[in-house]
């Protein structure tokens, strides 16, 4: 178990969620799985229904945005206090390995055959990895710092250092942060809701790389 902190000056993880084949882990517990729907699209839809997400725009999203979006929805459920903050003070900082390569390939399929050439703006718009951040911002009206970093693997040390820098310099008061990746049917989202700790709560998990590493094991 991660070490708990009682230091009220720290940035804390309010809630975290991991979505990977074929389960949803919330705050360390497997909260949802669906053995009957293990194919990616079906499993995502099953999560969407289970958590009663009501957001028709979800169905337009590409594979990468879907898993990132659902993980963000889950960590924000029960944390309505975030919506009361200044929207300009809530950031979304994510990292990813394969960029939007899944959709890039799909888009490329629409232009490579010159006798069957049908580039679509609805597909093209998802050929950018930071659009997953845009989707989370639009859904929640978050307008703070937002950056999509690329690394081969989730770099917990980098993400915690960067986001801590934004929180400590008062650029933001809260942040949806973590990792989301999709490639060839393989996927993983690890999303954390991080806030400046205002009260001394015994169960607070401080936002530190060594703790992040334990949480995502």
């Amino acid at each position: 178990m991660p070490t708990k902190t009682t230091n009220n000056m720290e940035n804390i993880i309010r809630k975290y969620c991991i979505i990977k084949p074929h389960k949803v882990i919330v705050d360390g517990k497997v909260e949802f799985s669906d053995p009957e729907n293990t194919e990616y699209g079906a499993f995502m839809k099953s999560i969407y229904k289970h958590y009663e997400v009501k957001y028709p725009k979800y169905f337009k999203m590409d594979n990468l945005c879907k898993v990132a979006f659902l993980a963000s929805e889950i960590i924000l459920q029960g944390n309505e206090q975030i919506k009361e903050l200044d929207p300009g003070k809530v950031g979304v900082i994510l990292q990813n390995s394969h960029s939007s390569f899944d959709t890039d390939s799909k888009y490329n399929d629409t232009i490579k055959d010159k006798s069957n050439y049908f580039p679509s703006p609805a597909v093209f718009v998802y050929t950018l990895p930071n659009v997953m951040i845009g989707e989370i911002c639009i859904r929640n009206k978050f307008q703070g710092e937002n950056t999509c970093f690329i690394a081969k693997e989730f770099d917990t040390e980098f993400i915690s250092e960067y986001v801590t820098g934004l929180l400590d310099s008062d650029k933001i008061d809260a942040c949806v942060t973590g990792w989301a990746d999709y490639i060839d049917g393989e996927y993983c989202a690890m999303m954390f809701l991080v806030e400046k700790s205002k009260e001394n709560i015994k169960d607070n998990i401080s936002f530190k790389p060594e703790l992040l590493n334990q949480l995502i094991k």
């Binding site: 960029s99 703006p121 639009i138 690394a151």
Partner: protein, 386 residues
């Protein structure tokens, strides 16, 4: 607080392979945009700004084997190498961080099924691995892909790592190449101009795409500063419109917040800014939104230009090369005109630069906006200005 000095820079575009070549062309009002019918890029004739491939390969062959690197990597290595030659910084040392920005990276590989590279080379992190290996850097690089604001975000991110004193020097390098992928996508949006783009003009009808790379070296080491009054990075911020993934905000709120947060961080409380380097993609919506954000920030009196009509929209390079041009505008005390602008075409009366002008320039604000609702701004000034 420690100062963040701009130490060296380089620009590689259709207008040349050094910052000087590029800035001289801007001063002369010369655009690098030309019509192409290259079937590898377009089905129908297209206005585009391209880097000279022959010169790229011949210049690169002095550094390494051109066949071992992708087009973008060659441009990045050449650009960083040229910037480093202006300094005494050893990029292999642990006190130097590399920050990269690119929107589509080695996207030309996706269209060429017979390319000679490993299949992983399509990944953005493979680019930073390849470039860092070339310079023997062992420090884990940072890679940013934030659509059209990537270059400005990369500068802001690099500066944060100098502020917290984790590194002494940061090499920020960003770029993108043109293949069929990006032009066809923007064409499907009906966002590509038939003629070279006309930022802020009444007859603007979309973007012109371009390719290129920019490199800027930032440092907190005063000993590396050669000028008496160097240009320093003062502040920067990113925000999101939270409005639409492919259309900008109607009110300019997100960009206004980015400008406000940037000037706050810079400790700039007045509106005495000598120059705004705008994003100015020349799409109807972007330029209109920008005019609103500039007005909202009470900067409508400040001379503003867009350089997209010289270089095209170079995506991951744009924010970087436009900041570098801003730095040279300060150094050479001049303002570059917005090529293609003749009749005011945005609702706010912002002060678009119509003619090249020699005048004192001591500071500038850079703005950028992009898909995903992202906005960014950065503020630079002379050391002894405000």
């Amino acid at each position: 607080m420690n100062k963040i000095y701009t130490i060296a820079d380089n620009i590689i575009t259709s207008l040349g392979f050094t910052s000087q070549e590029n800035f001289s062309a801007l001063k002369a009002g010369k655009s690098g945009i030309a019509k192409t019918s290259d079937p590898k890029i377009t089905q129908a004739p297209l206005q585009v700004s391209q880097v000279n491939s022959e010169r790229l390969n011949s210049d690169f062959s002095e550094l390494g084997n051109p066949e071992d690197y992708t087009r973008l990597e060659k441009m990045m290595i050449l650009s960083i190498n040229n910037a480093l030659a202006q300094t005494e910084i050893d990029p292999s040392k642990e006190d130097t961080l590399f920050v990269f920005s690119s929107v589509k990276g080695n996207i030309d590989l996706i269209e060429d099924e017979n390319h000679p590279f490993d299949k992983d080379r399509i990944n953005l992190w493979a680019i930073s691995d390849s470039v860092c290996n070339f310079f023997n850097s062992k420090v884990k690089p940072i890679f940013i892909s934030n659509a059209c604001i990537s270059g400005v975000t990369a500068i802001n991110t690099g500066a944060q790592y100098l502020k917290n004193q984790k590194y002494k020097h940061v090499i920020v390098c960003g770029g993108d190449v043109i293949s069929e992928f990006t032009p066809s996508g923007f064409q499907s949006f009906k966002a590509v101009s038939e003629n070279p783009c006309k930022p802020f003009d009444a007859n603007r009808d979309g973007i012109t795409l371009g390719e290129g790379v920019g490199t800027i070296i930032l440092s907190t080491d005063k000993n590396l500063v050669k000028e008496e009054n160097p240009v320093i990075f003062r502040g920067g911020a990113n925000t999101n419109d939270a409005n639409h993934i492919s259309g900008p905000s109607r009110t300019g709120d997100g960009l206004y917040y980015a400008i406000r947060n940037t000037l706050n961080e810079a400790g700039k409380s007045d509106t005495m800014i000598d120059y705004i380097s705008g994003h100015g993609t020349a799409t109807p919506y972007n330029d209109e939104m920008e005019s609103k954000a500039i007005k909202w920030a009470e900067l409508d009196h400040v001379p503003v230009n867009s350089l997209k009509s010289y270089w095209g929209h170079t995506l991951g390079a744009a924010g970087l090369i436009e900041c570098i041009a801003g730095i040279h505008s300060i150094k050479e005390n001049c303002l570059i005109k917005t090529l293609g602008y003749s009749e005011h075409g945005v609702s706010e009366p912002i002060n678009i630069i119509k003619e090249f002008k020699e005048t004192e320039v001591r500071n500038f604000l850079k703005t950028a906006s992009g898909f995903g609702g992202s906005n960014a701004a950065a503020y630079f000034s002379e050391l002894n200005a405000d």
